[in-house]
Amino acid sequence: MEEGAEAVVAETEEHWLTAIPSLGVGLGYRQLYQSEVFHHRPDIDFLEIIPDHFFGAAGPQARYLDLLRAHFPIIPHGLGLSLGSAEGLDREYLSCLTQLVARLQPPYWSEHIAFTKAGGIDIGHLTPLPKTRESLRVLHDNIRLALEVLQVPLILENITETIRYPHQALDDAEFLTEVLEQNDCGLLLDVTNLYINSVNHRFDPLQFLQRLPAQRIVQLHFVGGHWEGEQLIDSHSTATPDEVWQLLEEVLKLAPVRGLILERDERLPPLSELLEELAQARQYWNRYHGTA
């Protein structure tokens, strides 16, 4: 990261990154736990919701969302805006997201450095972009439009690199840094995805971390995946492994992270098991960032 850019983030008091509150240790909200989360409020500092699940919420679902918001800080984590789509943003999705973000009034929202839609096809899964100047331009145009409409700061998540493109102009760390700096966005560092990429593509995740703009790391994701043959898959289906905990600790040492989210999606266990993982995350959190 250029020294000047880092100085802008660190020293400008009005910069939005410095105004983000410390959120603590939280959970990706899942409907299975819709009642239990309220009984464990002291153990869950904030929630991350998938906005798609609440689009058009009315009646009891809208009242439930208001109840969640009354008890927890909520961060909307988009899946379908497809910021990397060269054909432009899904305007209907953007409209639904805008309404939901206006209702939740979060300190920031998040999405992914990926595309999910192209040529009238909805892939249904986050797909990597080629690390080229054209991809940067597309991301810039789409992010600028989204920010103009939503008027709330954006943090962007790194995904697993399931496809590698030929003739890439930048390496992964350069590309990620350029995206964040060009668009003045924060980073939602998915520590599990970083670990998975480092295993599948054989690089040192700590060296990768050193090349990122640490001041822009706002939030972390952590969870476990599984092996399919010799490939590690980001299935979000198992408990966080030791290697991810170690990497998470390294990130907390070097970045002013505001929140950690356990992002379990599949093979959902009893909430008590997830709370045990949150308790472990809180030990790291308290060690480096104090009590939330």
């Binding site: 639904c96 839609k117 096809i121 909805d122 249904g124 080629p130 080229t132 496809i163 493109y165 490939q231």
Partner: protein, 167 residues
């Protein structure tokens, strides 16, 4: 259409439909990686449908994955309601799958009705079943369902759904 748009369209076709119209655009991308990414997409849709139709999945047992793989190759849905559409779509597709006992597609249809209500934004509907489908049929194979006509009330309220036998 620019170069990146062309490339993204080819990748989307390869992942969702199994092949791209302009295969030359994918030159230089590992075929194994494309297959792996398509397999990840398959696993995700299979898992989402399993979570929404757990009794159907349990009743199908080892047949669930190969049947879902056939369905996956034929049908795709888009948008934020895609998981619901997939589950309902799979339950409909099972009726034409051929090699299943007649009661099994009926179980899937019964289980998918609350999802249909959610998609249609309806609160209730009366449905007619031709087989006596117990909720726990998948766990009692020694008691196969009988051909019995019955009426059920499918309803939803907020995030809660239910099925109640009326007659």
């Amino acid at each position: 259409m620019g170069p990146l748009e062309d490339l993204q369209r080819a990748v989307a076709q390869a992942l969702v439909q199994g092949q791209a119209e302009n295969r030359e655009l994918l030159a230089g991308i590992s075929a194994d990686e494309l297959r792996g990414a398509r397999e990840t997409l398959f696993r995700k849709r299979r898992s989402q449908t399993r979570q929404l139709l757990p009794r159907t999945q349990a009743a199908l047992g080892e047949l669930y994955t190969p049947l879902f793989r056939r369905y996956f190759a034929e049908q795709q849905y888009s948008g934020y309601r895609a998981p619901l559409l997939d589950a309902v779509g799979f339950s409909d597709w099972l009726r034409g799958a051929g090699e299943l006992p007649s009661w099994l597609p009926e179980l899937a249809r019964w289980e998918a009705w609350p999802l249909r209500l959610q998609l249609a934004r309806r609160l209730w509907r009366i449905i007619h079943l031709r087989w006596q489908v117990w909720p726990d049929i998948a766990f009692h194979p020694e008691r196969p369902p009988q051909p019995t006509s019955s009426l059920w009330l499918a309803y939803r309220w907020g995030n809660k759904f239910g099925l109640r036998r009326i007659v």
